[in-house]
Symmetry: C2
Subunit: 212 residues, 2 copies
DNA sequence: CGCCAAGTTGAAATACATCAATCGGAGTGG
DNA sequence: CCACTCCGATTGATGTATTTCAACTTGGCG
């Protein structure tokens, strides 16, 4: 296991002073997650989860068993602020998308941290706002009735972040479909359609988005 | 205009000491909003908006002109944290749903407040997390492909808050449809269907939800 | 009383889901 | 190095739920 501070690599903490980071480091539990293993479920919400390496999948299950991908956590991302103040986890799951390493901080301890380091609260606030912005974007995606627009909007958002002409989809098409709230079949068909219309150029998971 | 502190009535500030509230009160601009008037648009995001009285509508416009209702603000609610840290407002609008009174705090001043009163940051964080939870719920609603489930889930959520057998829809059916991402026609039909199935009992905007 | 917006109802079109079969590539083992 | 397998991706055919368009009714308010 790397001796590097887990705390140091995440945006949530990396602006704090080094000695403060060491203090926090002592509070976290390290843990390995196997691919496919479920870490968080409505039964068990351990605490604040920070991804050190690997990828995790945050998803919901409907009553009929269908799955909806809420977000993919990459290294440095965190999840769990929803339950910081006692909120109940109703139908959110987190599982390993690949073998991963995570850090966990119990809620009461994290709360104590928030009280002690006012900077941390502002930092978490800032990150929460960003997350909210993303959720809002996703909302607007899901609200679009035209699937085609939905896909294009998603791609444009991706491109905006990469600042480059070519985009590499961050997930399997299957999961992207779940993320966008459609079926894999429809996604596949629509991508073809978009290509025929000259809006995109695709090879595998790499997509080139033409300006219009 | 009431002499009561605008700041005192909102959850965001009402836990602060009274003298702190007075300090903040001096920073806010009071403003009346006529029904239908647009207060916030991508062009102009004035600052943090707090609803003193009346109702405002937060909504998005798609490229094709269709509208999606994100949230309805009642008195005591606020909006604008998304742009606190310089985030761009891309397609969010806020307009008066009825004649309303609002308070506005410029972002830089609000930011200064956050630095000064660490309690405020935690408070805003807490409220942001609640808002996020609602957004997450709405996400899960929109992700359901069965409209019927979507409506029932929404109603159950409403009932949960009212703690009573009968629910009164907080908006016009037309707007509820926009909120749920469907057309008013479909909503009307589905409500009928649900009534025939014995799941609900409705008269106007009042709905009784039968346990199953 | 009459107007306008909201709500309702009907008929038609369409886009998406669903089911099922096939293809393709990556990984595994002989 | 070549089958073999497994899973993701693709393609086709079919059904259906929802949108759309349009006409009509209702209800609230001046």
């Amino acid at each position: 296991m790397s001796s590097k501070l887990c705390v140091g690599i995440v945006p949530l903490f990396n602006e704090l002073a080094h000695d403060e980071q060491e203090l926090i480091e002592r509070l976290v539990q390290h843990r390995s997650v196997a691919c496919g293993e479920v870490v968080v479920s409505p039964d068990r919400s351990g605490g604040m989860i920070i991804v050190r390496s690997g990828r995790l999948r945050v998803y919901q299950l409907s009553e009929d068993g269908s799955e909806h991908v809420v977000r993919i956590l990459d290294s440095g991302d965190y999840e769990g602020e929803l339950w910081l103040y006692g909120g109940r986890n109703e139908n959110l799951f987190i599982s390993g998308e690949s073998d991963s390493e995570i850090c966990v901080i119990a809620y009461d301890e994290f709360n104590r941290l928030l009280e002690s380091y006012s900077g941390l609260a502002i930092r978490l606030l800032k990150l929460s706002i960003e997350k909210m912005s993303e959720l809002g974007f996703k909302n607007s995606l899901l609200a679009m009735d035209s699937i085609e627009d939905r896909i294009v909007a998603y791609l444009e958002k991706l491109q905006e972040r990469h600042h480059s002409g070519k985009i590499v989809l961050p997930m399997k098409l299957k999961d992207l479909a779940l993320y966008l709230g459609i079926t894999p079949e429809t996604l596949s068909r629509k991508l073809h359609l978009l290509e025929e219309e000259g809006i995109i150029r695709r090879r595998g998971r790499t997509i080139e988005l033409n300006e219009r």
